[in-house]
Symmetry: C2
DNA sequence: TCTCCCTTGATAAATAATAACATTAAAACA
DNA sequence: TGTTTTAATGTTATTATTTATCAAGGGAGA
């Protein structure tokens, strides 16, 4: 998982953003966790590295990485996971196993055609979107 | 908006469910509101009709109607709206205007093909899904 | 060094949801 | 009808999640 850290480092250099300790640690912990993490799980895990860590610090780091497409928020879980795609994308889709909790992302660069048609019918200009599918994964079925 | 109340009444008869006062009022208020309502907005609106209304009462009614597909929860807004479809459906999609807050539902009886293929590739059995699209509506553009 | 600006620290509060147990009342049954 | 059973609500308290606000720190450029 060094990859994501390298990517983050290079991103910050290129965009003159500061790779502060809270940001580094938040990203690293999310990246190393197989499953999405809730904000307070993250806080617990950070406690050993950042004394007296408080929610705002974590939420700020989460906002930062979200804004720059390094992580996503899974709305139906109130949890955060690493973006598994290498490029910026306006929409993401997640399949979430109800049994084991595993989450897999696949980006959707373009909205499915049937949705696109619905948007056209409503003259609606999409900016970002989120697709969360609950079900049973291969391992659990 | 009498329709939804009639539908609810008939549903409860047919399924031997109880159409209690909290349930009635919660459904009615959501139905009469053009925009999705947050749980605590609902509580405020209920205060005049149900003395000493408390969160659990409202959340129970919300769970009830959600379970029976009369309302949906918009995950990205923490808010609830009436289901605009007449049939039970496993998935729903919402377009949410970032400017005026209007939300429009269209059911998606079937998942878009491109998503379906992704699920097949992952041997994932979908049970329910949720698609939320943010953007700008016709009125606001 | 000084200043500006971004980031974090710290305190507090707002917002959202649930747990647990008591009470009530409708439904089921004898 | 009277009794039992079940489901829903009432009540109190707590937990979970997120944000607001202002003070303090620290790096980059003048
Ligand atoms: Zn992604
Ligand atoms: Zn699974
Ligand atoms: Zn619906
Ligand atoms: Zn609008």
């Amino acid at each position: 998982m060094k990859n994501i850290e390298k990517k983050a480092f290079e991103f910050c250099i290129a965009n003159k953003e500061r790779l502060t300790l809270p940001r580094q640690l938040v990203l690293k912990i999310i990246a190393r966790n197989k499953k999405p993490l809730k904000a307070y799980d993250l806080i617990d895990k950070l406690r050993s590295r950042l004394v007296n860590i408080k929610p705002p610090t974590v939420y700020r780091a989460l906002d930062f990485w979200q804004k720059h497409n390094f992580i996503h928020r899974i709305e139906s879980l109130n949890a955060f996971c690493i973006c598994s795609e290498d490029k910026l994308h306006k929409g993401a889709q997640f399949i979430i196993c109800n049994s084991c909790g595993e989450v897999v992302e696949s980006d959707s660069c373009n909205l499915p055609k049937i949705i696109d048609e619905f948007l056209k019918k409503n003259t609606f200009k999409p900016l970002k979107w989120n697709i969360e599918i609950n079900g049973i994964c291969q391992n659990c079925s």
